[in-house]
Symmetry: C2
Subunit: 224 residues, 2 copies
């Protein structure tokens, strides 16, 4: 992507450089790539590093377990990690996609959170962060279809029903799947400057929702 | 995702089962996952297979070449192929993401097209299909920012400026990056029934553009 020039907004001085995303089996692909692809573009404008972190260095697949694959489909994508929970370097931002993470992922988030500049979750990723205790006493949102199941994981969190995404301190939580795109573009606007977010949205031919309270799915799923 | 029930639209009888996506270095991640993730959901409703096809079985990375990485970022994702151009099985649908494919990809599309039920391209993927000659005499669209460069690849194609996606016969071409999501959801609506497209959109918390002529980016980039 060509270089952005003539930014009107002034980016923060100490912008994040080192991003990590945690993967585990049966993660939701668009949770990961809806939030990473805007950063793929931003990496042409800022020096950024990405660490893809999992339990081992084996590729991690979106494949559902056999007992949740009613049509016996063979339809999955596998991503290659760069680091394990043990070898992950210090990070500025950790991205947590939705799915059913085991305790090792939860422990990794709990261990890493105090050294992060930002924690960014997509979809039920906020449920995983909640299990790590890092959302206690904070406002957060999550997937609206999986709402009840997710918020039951941690009543110490102030769960916000009607939100595309929620920011509380240094924690960004987004609603389901594609909401990660809007939340990441809002994050880029906030941290690196609005011009970058607009340029990247236009490059991706994506009309982003700029209002964090835009949430027709909260109503659709009957949440109060 | 739970099973869809009470579909109002009647799906086509002979629905596609075997999907392929062709990968090559420096592909656009969201071209691939914006179109695949709705199919990941559909695979809970229909028996579907996915073949990830590349020159070799080595993981394929989104990483830009060194001379197009001005900030020397280390920011990329690698996907594991399941088949090579030589070992790919017969397919019903081939998905072609955007980027700079070499002649081997072009030759693979040309070879495979006569046996496909559908060809589906995202972003500048239509330029790759055009190079294979399979779009000659057909209507197609492509990325609006890369418009002039892409259409110059093959003047025998009737390039449509103002379109989120274009269908001509069994070829679906979408505009840039995120347009692949709308085009794939429209494809699912057309082939498997509108109820599936709606259910999947709601699950992804994505308000899809249902009008194939919705295209603010054509105007943004000054295309006539």
């Amino acid at each position: 992507m060509p270089t952005v020039s003539g930014q009107s907004a002034i980016p923060k001085v100490d912008t994040p450089v080192n991003y990590g995303v945690v993967l585990y089996p049966y993660f939701q692909a668009l949770d990961v790539f809806g939030s990473l692809d805007p950063l793929n573009s931003l990496a042409f404008e800022y020096h950024l590093n990405l660490y893809i972190i999992a339990a081992t260095l084996d590729p991690v697949s979106t494949r559902p377990p056999d007992d949740e694959n009613p049509k016996k489909s063979d339809f999955a994508q596998s991503i290659v990690p760069t680091h394990t929970f043990e070898t992950a370097p210090p990070l500025d931002v950790l991205i947590v996609p939705g799915g059913r993470a085991d305790q090792a992922v939860v422990d990794f988030i709990a261990k890493l959170y105090p050294s992060l500049k930002y924690l960014f979750t997509v979809c039920t990723g906020s449920g995983i962060a909640a299990r790590a205790g890092v959302l206690d006493g904070k406002q957060a949102t999550t997937n609206k279809m999986e709402w009840e199941k997710t918020i039951a994981l941690r009543p110490q969190v102030t769960w916000i029903t009607h939100a595309r995404w929620v920011v509380d301190g240094n924690i960004w939580t987004s609603s389901g799947v594609s909401a990660g795109m809007d939340a990441m573009l809002a994050f880029i606007a906030e941290i690196y400057g609005k011009g970058h977010a607009e340029k990247i949205s236009n490059y991706l031919e994506y009309k982003r929702h700029e209002d964090s309270k835009w949430d027709p799915f909260s109503d659709l799923y009957g949440l109060k």
